[in-house]
Amino acid sequence: MSTPAAASTRAPGFSESPVRWLLGKIGGGIFVLWAVATAIFFGIRMIPGDPAEAIMGGPGSQASAEALAGARSQYGLDQPLYVQYFGQLWRLATGDLGTSYSLKTPVSEVLGELIPPTLILAILALLVAWAMALVVAVLSTRSGALGSALGSGLEIVSAAVPHFWLASVLILVFSTMLGWLPPVSTNTAAGLALPVITLALPLAGFLGQVMRDTLMEAQRSAFALSARARGESEIGVLLRHSLRHAALPAIALSGWAFGSLLSGAVVVESIFARPGLGRSLLSAVTSRDIPMVTGVALISAAAYVVIMALSDLAERLADPRIGTS
């Protein structure tokens, strides 16, 4: 939900070879992951209270002194800080994300189960949002000033709708009142419908605004006029020229969009009782389960790095202007 324009600002300097590009992306990705891990490691030390207590399930667990000491040594909390830090980095580097305080299972195992449902949700929502944005953008450019104003209003309003509100209203209407769609999400078409729409609608509003601006621009551009002048029909101009241009910002924004979907997943997964990264982050935050928080943060940072690289790549493929100049 943050401003998409901000995220689309491309880093300068793209004239290197594909290998260097890839190496650069990998290096940058490792740096990001290291920085996130480090920030979180030291962040934990600033929390008031005893981490060992959090491991034992919080102060309410009435853990005995022996149990606390056991937890401390089990999690290495009795070691000097630098030993803990480098130990932590080493473990992370070897793929060991530690054991969840609250779930008492290896974080990597839990995340392994949670990543696919969140990915399914996010990817579907991204596709649906793209489709909706495109349809509204095209319809509103083709239906005159009133249609355009209507489309634009629709986009702005849907971009302003909070996920949790939308989810509630959708459940009320489609599950409770009409009984068409289940309120609890499963990986079936019906079970995915409500959460996907909840995530996709606000995003479609954002993408739609950007796409329509580009679409309008492309429709008014000199090359579109040229195409018309050589006998291209309006539909032809739209299909062969304008739509490709309108897709570019959407591709460029898809990294940002994916991030916003992960954000939205926190709310949507909670409301639709759907297992996933977002919901587990929320419960990890409320139970102060730091290994889980770290794990989800690292996973989503890694996802961000990968998605950004992919969208960069897609953008280069879709837009020959990048890299040639």
Partner: protein, 268 residues
């Protein structure tokens, strides 16, 4: 007629924003009813003559709560935007002016902040700082800062290489004077656009955190909190959820439209 139609969005947006700003400044003017006054016997009254937008589970007047909720909601949004923009200003200025290495460093930092999208960053922050209104404001500010910072940095870098700065150099202006008189003020100009856009977004973020139980707390009439509380009674009293949500959507949409209008009018 045509002219009026052209100004319709501006008029509508101005009306919405003025209404809520007035509500924030002088809530009693718009609704003299105490938003905290309970009346168990009148709980869950549907919207009607007595209670324009109905009542909640404690019989409190929803209209009054929305009006009185404007101040905390807008304040949270404004404070978060201010923090986000302030942070961004510092980072963006350092990156824009500070030479290659600082620019590189800030660039990495922004990359890292970007790597945790929105709510995730806010949640991780709350995991460490604990929930509450102050944390919400900080978390939302932190969440929005990297986007702003990138824009400000890009703006400063573009300005630094602009013909305007060249012209000032040719006139013999000192570096310091160019920075303070020409670059900074012009880099700050788009902040009006950013701030209006950001305000609506920040309110949305803050409402999300309230909804997740990590933001403002009842019985304070804050929109996100009202919405969250109302969700429990969704099937019984839809108005408890619908109207606070409407207020959020209205403000967020109005701020988007306003920022678009500002931008198209050349406040760049």
């Amino acid at each position: 007629m045509r002219r009026l139609a052209a100004h319709l969005p501006l008029v509508a947006v101005a009306a919405v924003l003025l209404f809520f700003v007035l509500a924030a400044i002088a809530p009693n003017l718009l609704s003299p009813v105490d938003p905290l006054a309970i009346s168990p016997t009148q709980a869950f009254s549907a919207p009607g003559a007595e209670h324009l937008l109905g009542t909640d589970e404690s019989g409190r007047d929803i209209y009054s709560r929305i009006i009185h909720g404007a101040r905390p909601s807008l304040l949270i949004g404004a404070a978060a935007t201010a923090i986000g923009l302030g942070l961004a200003l510092v980072l963006g200025t350092i990156a824009g002016f500070g030479g290659r290495w600082l620019d590189f460093g800030v660039g990495r930092l922004l990359e890292v902040l970007f790597a945790l999208p929105g709510l995730l960053l806010a949640l991780v922050f709350i995991a460490f700082a604990g929930p509450g209104v102050a944390t919400t404001v900080m978390a939302v500010g932190l969440t929005t800062a990297p986007g702003y910072a990138r824009m400000i940095r890009a703006q400063i870098i573009a300005l630094r290489a602009s013909p305007m700065v060249e012209a000032a150099t040719v006139l013999g202006r000192s570096r310091a004077r160019i920075l303070t008189v020409h670059i900074l003020p012009n880099a700050l100009a788009p902040i009006a656009v950013l701030a209006t856009l950001g305000l609506g977004q920040a309110i949305l973020w803050a409402a999300s955190l309230s909804f997740l139980g990590l933001g403002a707390r009842p019985p304070a009439p804050e929109w996100g909190t009202m919405l969250s509380a109302g969700r429990t009674y969704l099937a019984l009293a839809w108005w408890m959820t619908f109207f606070p949500g409407l207020a959020i959507v209205l403000v967020a949409a109005a701020s988007t439209v306003l920022s678009r209008i500002l931008k198209s009018r050349g406040v760049r």
